[in-house]
């Protein structure tokens, strides 16, 4: 690499991999396996404030209370907010440039009180707007990953 015409000392890991093995927890696991096995979303409800969290997690932070009540959530909802990413950037998850443009959406699924983040298809940009109804499109082959949901499409 160079900067201002100067050769920089660059240190990298070459082809070596240093994988992380994250635990998603029991609630996160159920969320992902429901998508994989049944193409269904589930949320979890706080016994104190009544908020339904998607994705589900063990603790409602504001109430500092453990949650156990599962709530079915639809695979449809509306675009709470979004942006269309147009600048190329390095994806730290792959080490490669992320393909742009893409729709980065915060989706309020019917029955949930928080947003689920995913891609929204931007084939017709005019249809992509706040409040638009969207539906999840699932992959044919699913592996228990967040990418088992291919993306969301506007259904208005």
């Amino acid at each position: 690499m160079t900067n201002q015409g100067v050769d920089l000392l660059t240190i990298n890991s070459g082809e070596a991999e240093q994988p992380f093995c994250y635990t998603v927890g029991l609630e996160g696991s159920k969320f992902l396996t429901e998508i994989r096995d049944n193409k269904r979303f589930v949320g979890i409800k706080c016994p104190k404030c009544g908020k339904v969290y998607v994705p589900p997690r063990k603790v409602c932070g504001p109430c500092f209370t453990e949650m156990t009540e599962w709530v079915p959530v639809k695979d449809e909802g509306y675009l709470h907010s979004y942006t269309i990413l147009r600048f190329a950037f390095l994806d730290p998850e792959t080490g490669k440039e992320k393909p742009v443009p893409y729709g980065y959406a915060f989706i309020r699924l019917d029955g949930a009180d928080t947003d689920f983040q995913h891609y929204v298809e931007i084939k017709d940009e005019k249809k992509v707007k706040i409040g638009a109804r969207v539906r999840a499109v699932f992959e044919e082959k699913r592996a228990g990953k967040i990418t088992d949901v291919k993306h969301f499409v506007v259904i208005d």
Binding site: G61, S81, F87, D91, Y104, Q117, Y119
Partner: protein, 387 residues
């Protein structure tokens, strides 16, 4: 509650650039610390303890507290490192304040720094977010801010041109600041015609990435006026870090953490009409639209009214409440130093040491920090001692 009345008595900063190839990180820190000590006519022997902060993953150095000793001057002194994302600099400042206000130390050196040229900033920021639920679609700071801007503009009818007015102001102010990175004015047309990065944010709407450092000395009442003839007394701080996942954020609510923090701060300091009672603000506005919705969160005007305030020149130099005389974050963004620079610049204004960027007769100044998952920190400084 604070046991000791505490003031900022000295500040120092580097000349900020997109890349400072002339110094390594330790030497960059040393430049800011040396200038800070000179400002207070202090030596490193006067310092009792040091707080330092940056975001580890930008430089890939994990023991910054020990690694940086030659630069920070913390040799054989207590030193702690704090990191809270974008708010790192304000957390560093708040820690410095806590250490003095608690009565534990009399003179504490607080340092924020970053050498953003040493890695890929967007990739590094992305790794600060949840690996399972946030990272698939997240694209660094710009993407989340774009989502916020979209929600604000749709709900309140503000335009991209209104937002551009903020960038034009900050870049104009930066021409008065010899330390700023971007010291060239831009016009509304320049901003509007710059490339779209992430709807509705364009290239000239956002902060750069910077190599730079900032240092501040906090002192107890016993020493403050001996070191500085016009210290900047801390009258209150507030930190609100409410969210975990980005999906939990109330996008159209105009930075609720800032609303909560400023409300608490104003109550502590007895401020009822911030627009009238505060003389200058140094705000962590990482992109233009924040200069609209977040000043509403600070209670300067009602929801959706910020564009009018901007176009009327209320927040320009010479206006009723100048914002970012330094040029702010849109002109300089050495991330771990950015929020400490806001506190430092607010103190400079109270001390009357701002040179060309000085606002006349500053008695009350507010500084803000922003970061993490839409977190806010605020600090209020005055020329008068707290009761």
């Amino acid at each position: 509650m604070a046991k000791e009345k505490t003031a900022i008595v000295a500040t120092g900063q580097t000349h900020h650039r997109s890349s400072r190839l002339d110094v390594n990180g330790i030497e960059l820190i040393h430049e800011a610390v040396t200038r800070c000590l000179e400002d207070g006519e202090l030596t490193i022997d006067d310092i009792d303890a040091v707080v330092i902060g940056n975001m580890d993953h930008f430089e890939g150095i994990n023991y910054v507290d020990t690694w940086s000793i030659d630069g920070s001057g913390a040799f054989m002194k207590p030193i702690i490192k704090v990191t809270t994302g974008g708010t790192t600099g304000s957390t560093v400042g708040h820690c410095g304040y806590h250490l003095v206000a608690s009565g534990m130390f009399d003179k504490v050196l607080a340092i924020g720094w970053e050498k953003n040229s040493e890695s890929d900033t967007t990739a590094a920021i992305t790794t600060a977010f949840d690996p399972i639920w946030d990272r698939l679609v997240f694209a660094g700071a710009i993407s989340g801010l774009a989502v916020e801007a979209m929600a604000y503009m749709v709900k309140y009818g503000a335009t991209e041109k209104d937002a551009a007015r903020v960038a034009v102001r900050d870049r104009k102010h930066a021409t008065n600041n010899p330390y700023a990175q971007l010291r060239k004015e831009v016009s509304i047309e320049d901003v509007m015609n710059s490339p779209m990065l992430s709807d509705p944010i364009k290239l000239l709407d956002v902060c750069p990435r910077t190599d730079g450092a900032c240092a501040v000395v906090f002192a107890s009442e016993q020493y403050a006026e001996k070191i500085c003839d016009r210290p900047a007394w801390i009258h209150g701080i507030s930190a609100k870090h409410p969210y975990n996942y980005l999906g939990d954020y109330d996008w159209e609510d105009r930075l609720p953490s800032m609303q909560m923090a400023s409300k608490e701060l104003y109550a502590k300091a007895g401020i009822k009409e911030p627009l009238k009672e505060i003389d200058v603000m140094e705000l962590y506005l990482p992109y233009s639209c924040a200069g609209l919705s977040w000043i509403e969160a600070l209670g300067l005007c009602g929801p959706g009214q910020a564009p009018k305030l901007l176009w009327d020149g209320v927040t320009d130099m010479g206006g009723e409440l100048p914002i970012n005389p330094s040029g702010g974050v849109i002109a300089t963004n050495c991330i771990g130093a950015t929020a400490l620079l806001r506190i430092s610049e607010a103190a400079v204004q109270v001390m009357g040491r701002g040179g060309k960027r000085q606002v006349p007769d500053v008695n009350t100044a507010l500084a803000s920090g922003f970061g993490g998952c839409f977190w806010s920190d605020v600090t209020l400084l005055k020329s008068t001692k707290p009761k």
